[in-house]
């Protein structure tokens, strides 16, 4: 069945597609949000770290300068030196040696002696400057204006970067300036880099506005890269940039340095790859979890789809079978399910059973019978081929129906007729009878066939009485609605007849044939006779079976065509009241 297979696949496929798409979408969205958040966080972290590194640099430099200042002050308060300066001021050689001695004591990179007028008396770094004006007059001015008469700062000298402090030589009033300095070189950069775990480079901007590297923690190769990358960068101070050095991306912070006689800066750098490494691990984990989740979802979806589509398919198959007339439901595995599909299956099976029964009864009788009879029929082993049995036959017929049919419009006529039939058949059913057929406006009912009904006569008579009551009720309605009333006549006779399915296989009917049928019919016709004044005429045979339960009026005997004997007839009046056990 290719159709059903297609439908099967489509539902499952659709469910799987929708669900998995949703899951994939959610997972992908989460993943990318996490990715973005990670990146942003990582960069923020790097920035924070770089700025911390910048602060460490400042602190470290200040600390070194504090140390050097203290050393300088110690040197400046050396009495021997004061004496040498004070007593042999013109003796440059002595002074020079004394200064070199002191520089070596503290292991500074250079020592300076400057007169109060700003003339270089001794410069260990550039001895040829002796006698020339000091090349950092700004430092001296700063010291003069300082409370403690000291100053510090960075200076560029012959392409090298130095940190310099200046203190007064007090004897006991200031008589000269002493300076101490140390180089900002690779070793210093290395120390700073180790402390703050980043790459440090010191840059100088020369006249052609190019940055050159003075010192760095990088090796030569990376230095060249950095040189190239920075090039003629302007306006980068204080901002975080990303530079690519030899394929590796570095997040860079360039902080300007306050240098008295030039422009310099420190570049603090962290490798982006290294910083992102822990986040990469997280992302990989997220990806793995995401994919795993997707796979699990797919499995779950397949399972769910199956658990829905399978029962549905089974039901579809069952329906198809029912359509073909096969009412065998078999044992469905879905029968015992507690959920909606179980309910559906159970309902379906009940329906199928009901259909099967009805079909069976139809098959059996060629007509629909009351549920009670139907139940009996399906339970019992019955013959429909033909048998002789005693049956009570009831005929009823409407008076002046033809006239009525001429006076009314067809739809209205049908409505009235069907209303009448509906009520009458309900009564017959209720008393265990079976409507054999409708002949125009006449009803033929059987009591005692196809089931054995012991009190069939009584039932038939009860039925007739109730039919009268029902007709009265109907007439009340009809009178109100149409202004017309219906009148009928009923004939009842009990006889042994032949009962069975009569007709062809394509069209048959469970009915009875025999004289008894004619008699019943004849009795019904007799109700037209005004001299009888009877609505319900019953035969002796029937009445005698009721043992005085009913009130009746003898009407005499009549001759029925085909029968030799005369039939005794009575008019049925009603039930006998105040009789114990009368039913």
């Amino acid at each position: 069945m290719p159709d059903s297979i297609l439908r099967f696949r489509t539902f499952r496929g659709r469910l799987a597609f929708v669900f998995l798409s949703l899951v994939a979408l959610v997972l992908a969205a989460s993943f990318f949000i996490a990715l973005q958040a990670n990146r942003r966080y990582a960069l923020r972290q790097i920035e924070t770290n770089l700025r911390t590194g910048a602060r460490i640099f400042s602190a470290l430099t200040e600390h070194r300068l504090d140390q050097v200042t203290n050393e300088a002050r110690l040197l400046a308060s050396d009495y021997g030196f004061k004496q040498a300066f004070g007593t042999s001021g013109e003796d440059r050689a002595t002074i020079r040696l004394a200064m070199q001695n002191r520089r070596d004591r503290v292991k500074a990179d250079f020592i300076l002696l400057v007169s109060l007028e700003g003339q270089t008396l001794y410069d260990s770094d550039q001895p040829r400057r002796d006698g020339l004006p000091f090349d950092l007059p700004g430092l001296i001015t700063a010291a003069e204006e300082n409370d403690a008469l000291q100053a510090r700062g960075l200076a560029l000298r012959q392409g090298k970067l130095f940190a310099v402090v200046v203190v007064p030589l007090l004897a006991p009033a200031p008589v000269a300036w002493i300076g101490l300095g140390f180089r900002i070189d690779d070793a210093f950069a290395a120390e700073l880099g180790a402390l703050s775990k980043q790459s440090v480079s010191f840059l100088q901007r020369n006249d052609s506005t190019q940055w050159i590297i003075l010192a760095s923690t990088f090796d030569v190769g990376k230095r060249n890269e950095l040189q190239r990358a920075i090039g003629a960068l302007t306006g980068a101070s204080g901002r975080i940039l990303q530079l690519a050095l030899g394929g590796e991306r570095f997040v860079t912070l360039i902080e300007p340095l306050d240098v008295r006689n030039g422009a310099a800066a420190v570049a603090l750098q962290r490798s982006l790859k290294e910083e992102l490494a822990p986040f990469r691990a997280l992302e990989a984990a997220l990806l793995f979890v995401g994919c795993g989740g997707l796979v699990l979802s797919a499995i779950a979806v397949a399972g769910i789809a199956r658990s829905i589509s399978r029962p549905v398919l089974r039901l579809a198959e069952s329906v198809h079978r029912v359509e073909g007339g096969d009412y065998t439901t078999g044992d469905s595995p879905d029968f015992g399910r507690a959920d909606e599909l179980g309910q559906l299956t159970r309902s379906f099976q009940n329906m199928t059973a009901g259909l099967a029964e009805r079909d069976k009864v139809r098959d059996l009788l060629g007509k629909v019978a009351s549920p009670a009879i139907a139940a009996e029929l399906t339970r019992g082993q019955l013959t429909f081929g033909g048998e002789e049995r005693k049956v009570t036959i009831l005929f009823s017929d409407l008076r002046d129906f033809t006239t009525l049919s001429e006076q009314l419009m067809p739809p209205q006529l049908l409505e009235i007729l069907n209303a009448y039939f509906t009520r009458m058949s309900r009564v017959v059913d209720a008393h265990g009878g079976v409507i054999d057929k409708y002949i125009g406006d006449a009803i033929m009912a059987l009591f005692g066939a196809p089931l054995n009904t012991p009190d069939q006569a009584r039932r038939a008579l009860e039925s007739a009485l109730e039919m009268r009551m029902a007709l009265n009720e109907l007439n009340r309605e009809l009178l109100a609605g149409t202004g017309r009333v219906l009148r009928f006549g009923i004939g009842i006779h009990t006889a042994t007849v032949v009962a069975g399915n009569i007709g062809s296989p394509q069209r048959y009917n469970y009915t009875v044939i025999g004289d008894g049928v004619n008699v019943a019919s004849r009795l019904q016709a007799l109700t037209r006779k005004p001299e009888y004044d009877a609505e319900i005429i019953v035969s002796d045979a029937t009445l005698s079976e009721t043992f005085g339960v009913f009130r009746s009026r003898q009407l005499g005997d009549v001759a029925v065509k085909g029968k030799q004997q005369l039939v005794g007839i009575h008019a049925l009046l009603g039930r006998r009241e105040r009789e114990e056990g009368a039913r």
């Binding site: 308060s77 009495y79 004061k82 004496q83 300066f85 004070g86 007593t87 109060l116 003069e144 409370d147 403690a148 008469l149 007064p168 007090l170 004897a171 006991p172 009033a173 200031p174 008589v175």
Partner: protein
């Protein structure tokens, strides 16, 4: 700019003729006084300022005198002293610790290494000029001795006032020097005439001072360190 040793050549004018004249003048009628008041440009009175008057007509006589600069409570007392050239100065140590006084000023280079009590020989200051005293042990100790040619000098007290007494009649160049003085003292010099009858009244000076560079002692006073 801090004090330079080369600077204060004040009240150092010499005149031989003047010297003779002064002798003469000594026997004339009663001498006058000069009241001096020194204030900073902001109006604050200036203490520890040396005021000296050099006669423009006539000379000065050398009065050999004595002066005392003690060390008390690890300070030079007085902070600023003025002496006439040729004065012998004593440096009694009134502390219970030893001091090592020195000076590398061109006007007088000397040192009194670690001593207690009073050294036997006073130090004679035979050159005019500024002498800056220091102590090798106590870095904050600083004192000044201004050696002047004229015998008429005084040091202002806390209210910024000083009095020059016994000046013979005549015209004088009155100069002021203070350790924190900005610029040469000649810039703020004034000419004052002294007559035989009475003093010329208060001579006011307005001076500009540089900030005090001296390292302060520790807050408790027992802590003998820098600020």
């Amino acid at each position: 700019m801090p004090v330079s040793e080369a600077m204060p050549r004040i009240c150092a004018r010499r005149d031989v003729v003047g010297a003779v004249l002064l002798f003469t003048l000594q026997f004339t009628a009663c001498a006058g006084n000069i009241e001096v008041e020194i204030k900073e440009s902001g109006g604050t009175p200036v203490a520890d300022a040396v005021v000296c008057a050099t006669p423009l007509t006539g000379g000065t006589s050398a009065l050999k005198g004595k002066a005392i600069v003690a060390q008390k409570n690890k300070q030079f007392v007085p902070y600023v002293t003025a002496v006439q050239k040729g004065t012998a100065v004593q440096f009694p140590n009134q502390d219970d610790v030893k001091h090592h006084i020195y000076s590398f000023s061109p006007a007088k280079k000397f040192e009194l290494p670690l001593y207690a009590g009073t050294p036997a020989d006073p130090v004679v200051f035979d050159k005019a000029g500024l002498v800056t005293l220091g102590c090798n042990i106590h870095d904050w100790m600083i004192g000044y001795i201004l050696v002047v040619e004229t015998p008429w000098f005084a040091v202002t007290t806390g209210n910024g006032r000083a009095q020059l007494r016994g000046l013979p009649a005549g015209t004088y160049q009155v100069e002021v020097w203070q350790p924190r003085l900005k610029g040469p003292s000649a810039r703020t010099a004034q000419r004052v005439a002294v007559s035989a009858d009475n003093s010329p009244g208060t001579v006011s000076f307005r001076v500009d001072l540089k900030p005090d560079f001296r390292p302060r002692r520790g807050p408790t006073g027992t802590e003998e360190g820098y600020r």
